[in-house]
Amino acid sequence: MEKTEDMMWVARCALLDDRKAFASLVDKYQGRVKRFFLSLTGGDESLSDDLAQETFIKVYYHLRSYKGLSSFSTWLFRVAYNLYYDELRKRGDRYFEPLDEAATIPQSPEPVDRRLDMTQALSILRPEERTVVTLYFVEDMAIARIAAVTGMPEGTVKSYLSRAKQKLGEYLKKNGYERVE
């Protein structure tokens, strides 16, 4: 049902330049796209907002190239992913460099469960690992879909996921976060 609704809006945008239909798509996916960028940029709201806007502008201009072979959301995230890597190259990789794995959860009197922010924890991962973890655990995408979004083979996606889980597990353990209740 959701896919039918998306296809209807996409068709109206592509064929009739229906701005109301495009606004509906933006309304529906803005939260997910911004959340995706928040995870990748270590919680930088301003940058995430800019990248999210750029994503939708790009989608508008390239809507006719969407062939419908995958779901609209898969294609949308592919555009977002490519934009993220363009930004990475533009900034010379320094901005998105993974933090030292010795980085810790900020100290405070609150229990570690309250202080934990997974967006910050993701900062210890490499950009590819961060992307895969975000799409798998936050956006709840299957491996095949992540492979379609990123253009990586499924084996590579699984490998990044496994490495990322290991690194995150060590980071959480080091900071006194042993398990989920």
Partner: protein
């Protein structure tokens, strides 16, 4: 250390990933950055039909006015036929103008 399963990881991310703030102006900002909308085919056809009806109305008005000036006859059937045709043409003009401006509004 016991390995976490994927469901536990998901729950961890659900509980400890801040959600982006709801921004009701985000869509507006995106829409403002789109290029100005070109007229659709429907709007162009609507404009052509509007101009045609306008020309027909004008022609009927001129013909009616000339006829009435030359042969004023309020009891003649011909006068009322012309008057009726003019009324219908004006109604069509009004309807077409409404359709045209509505399509412009919808496009914006």
């Amino acid at each position: 250390m016991k390995e976490w399963n994927d469901d536990q990881w998901r729950e961890l991310f659900d509980r400890h990933t801040p959600q982006p703030r709801r921004d009701r102006w985000f869509t507006r900002r995106v829409m403002n950055r789109l290029p100005r909308k070109r007229w659709s085919l429907e709007t162009k056809i609507s404009l052509v039909v509007l101009v045609l009806i306008l020309l027909i109305c004008t022609a009927l008005c001129v013909a009616f006015a000339r006829e009435l000036t030359a042969n004023p006859c309020w009891n003649c059937a011909g006068t009322w036929v012309m008057y009726g045709a003019l009324t219908v043409a004006c109604i069509l003009l009004g309807a077409q103008a409404n359709s045209f401006f509505r399509s412009i509004y919808d496009a914006s």
